[in-house]
Symmetry: D2
Subunit: 287 residues, 4 copies
């Protein structure tokens, strides 16, 4: 944790010798004081991943753009996919929710307690139940009713709102509607879902019922990026809780809520702090 603004440099590139040397020399040459640094090499894919968090005021750049401009040469040399973000620009988060509002309430609390850097700029729901609670936080609430007939149109409105609010990330906080494949593709890597099972077990809408039927001894939750194929996107975070024969389905639902909240909050934090790199269908998460 650090009080000043930080710039985060995230890199993915083919592995070769000298990358760390080049990047750290570049940072040192510009007086950068590194707050946090992480690396990973995927030997199978021969690919290198890096995250550097640097104290903004330590750098000799006047702003992010100069950083980007100057870094381009190094990036090109190593064929990097890269980005530079600033902690001063909090990720603008649009939360979608249906009737189960435990994840929404949890995120709203973390947001107003400033547990980590993100902004909830709007909440969208196909039910009006959470309206007054959201509005107490002075956050705009949009009610978009959904039926089989209007689904396409409704998601059109959602996408329009996301654009209007200049959303950086869309959180499906137990939004029990399947996001259309084309929207998932347009917002690839920007839609985060919480699924109420330990994926890949129990895909679909009734995972606790499936868990109960199968008689598993742990139930879980999975935070992942939404993709065109339901519940198959890259996993960011997972966790589980112990159950036994004495737990009914309502018990599992109750216990599972706590896991869902924690897993979504952790996954979202990793995302908005630019700790996650998606590669193929997996994630590197620099905690």
């Amino acid at each position: 944790m650090n009080n000043g603004t930080t710039y985060t440099l995230v890199i993915s590139c083919p592995d070769q010798r000298g990358i760390v040397a080049a990047v750290s020399s570049f940072i040192a040459a510009h007086q950068g004081s590194i707050v946090e640094a992480d690396y990973h090499t995927d030997r199978e894919l021969n690919r290198f991943f890096m995250r550097q968090e640097i104290l903004a005021e330590s750098l000799s750049f006047t702003n992010q753009d100069e950083f980007r401009q100057k870094f381009k040469e190094t990036a090109k040399k190593f064929k990097m996919e890269w980005k530079i973000t600033s902690s001063a620009q909090k990720k603008r988060t649009v939360v979608l929710v249906s009737q189960e509002d435990h994840c929404l309430a949890d995120l709203l609390y973390r947001w107003r307690a400033e547990e980590f850097d993100f902004d909830i700029v709007a909440v969208i729901s196909n039910h009006e139940t959470t309206k007054s609670f959201v509005e107490w936080h002075n956050i705009p609430f949009h009610y978009i009713p959904m039926s089989k007939e209007n689904k396409g149109e409704a998601f059109g409105q959602i996408e329009a709102l996301f654009k209007k609010y200049q959303g950086d990330v869309m959180v499906l906080a137990r939004f029990m509607q399947i996001v259309p494949a084309d929207l998932c593709e347009r917002l690839y890597g920007r839609i985060i879902n919480i699924h109420h099972s330990f994926l890949p077990s129990f895909v679909g809408g009734k995972p606790y019922h499936q868990a109960y039927e199968r008689g598993v001894k742990l139930i879980g939750a999975t935070c992942h990026y939404a993709t065109a194929v339901l519940d198959e996107g890259p996993i960011i975070e997972q966790d589980v809780i112990r159950v036994d024969h004495s737990h009914s389905i309502p018990d599992m639902i109750r216990l599972g809520k706590d896991v869902e909240k924690m897993v979504l909050a952790r996954g979202l934090r990793y995302h908005v702090e630019d700790r996650v790199i998606i590669h193929q269908n997996k994630t590197i998460v620099f905690k």
Copy 2:
């Protein structure tokens, strides 16, 4: 934990009022001192399950048979499926293993340390690698080579040995051969397998490879009864361990071993202490 011999009465029957009253009155009438008592009612199935562990010397019976004889009337009245076992008769355990011997070594240690009441009466393997270690424990070791051609015959030998040793329970301690469906059926509820994934995820022979491919953030192990359908039997115990992008498949295999050992040992303990009741494809485990 208790130093004297205990009798364990395990009951499964249709639920109705008065079962606990009848059973506990019966025990009290015969001076039984209860060491541990557990109950469960499955409301959906309207079925009642009970486990009573009673200090043998406290009872007014001369032996188990008298207990059984006297209890028959109560059992009949409530349409009970029931059994009475004695802690003095340790479950005779036959362990099957292939080359990965971490679970075998773990069970052998627990057996000689007398961590819980069970006897390893024989070890059978399709490899000779564990022979000398097993024999150091003065436990008979049987080498039964296996190929596609001789599989039926080999399992015939295994079943014959299990009978010869008067086995109570067969443990597949990472025995990487699929037990024939008919043998699973004949020994239903007596074959315990450890599967190296958090079932129902990653059925089959290479679960860590599948876990790696899917990019899950936890890997696990499952102890279950072997049934005719591979990896689908009633689950006794499960656990997981955290992994991340930095873990290769060999890392997962190494980390997973510790989970497998613990989960199998716990599952086997529950079984040999008559803490497990199978009902349909699930278990009640009275811990």
Copy 3:
């Protein structure tokens, strides 16, 4: 989980044969349908503990009082300490909070989501920061400023409010003021505290600082009954979360909040569902 009203019978008495038989015969004789039953014998203390949750409508009693009246004889025979409560009478909960409001927010959410049976009847704080949030829930908020000088008087007001609201349980939800010993004694077994360490480690006001200094690899939280000796009351529930060298004290505080919330919520649920029996300085918790 059960939809109808239940009566819960909680018993603590010297161990002897026939207690279960007597109690379950009594219940059966009055047509009681048992929802949940738990027992424990402490062999060292030779003491027996029991919790029976019974479907109210199944019983042949017109009300709780008749149940109590009829049960007296059995209770007397076995020298029982006992109580009968009804799930229809939700425990009236008064929450005390200072500035850190994560536990308060968590409890308020669980209350309005009706996750378990309890009522928050008032919130008291020595700061005004949580006032509007509490009042949004239509729960009375009382601001009682505290200083070294007025501490005795302030706690007098708190006790008066607790009486006025007919409080059943007082929750110290990160209330950073030490409750006077005499108040702890008058409300023995009715004040629940959440301490932000894994007790008995790190007693006092700065546990995360102590944990950081000691270099522990797990931090935790403890829900316990407040007693005259600070942080030494009977423990109801505890949990931990992993940390390492990369975590600063603010990181630990942030991570610890999630543990505190969960541990307090679980501990409170056990208490209000009459699952906890205090005996000497320990608890029996029938989960």
Copy 4:
């Protein structure tokens, strides 16, 4: 995990800009292929810590000594405390054990299964109970009886044996004798102890009894470096397991063994892979 020999460079030095740049440029200049890299800056102490694991065959050095020789200049410039080790030189481990042999058996298994790179070169005990099991592994066993009278002499023999076997690390695998302060000091950072509690709770010889008395809901184990002050050395690893009122002290001892084994094995692995840096009374552990 990596099949070739690796060199591990471990550094601790005052923090300043350019350290990573200097080190990674040095490695790149000598063709080093980095297998694993970790950094940590302690902002409070203004100190920097680094671990680099490099594929030996990738480097342009003929051997470790050349690496050391060439690196000296960089090390001097940044006032580094540093070392270079080779995975080809497995840490020579001397295990001390009393009667409880679960940790010993666990380590012996991991050693013969080659779970990680270390060698058990000798086992020393004040009891003869583990002799034949150790010798089955073709590992020398030394029986050194201990009494109040001969304690000094006995530890003299232990130290002499440790030297004779050119021990790198001494593991107290539930060795229930207190190592003299002066020996702890002479072998500072080379004696690893497993303590059967979650330190700093329950220092001393009977932690499970203390845990039982206090009524904690989790019990644990701590792997730490032995120092002159009992159970107060730098902590390497800790873990816990859930218990409740139903667990007797023998139950806790049984459950705790599994935690002790795992925690010691993990802690030892971190140590022998040069993942641990001690600084003041804490550790940085690069997992």
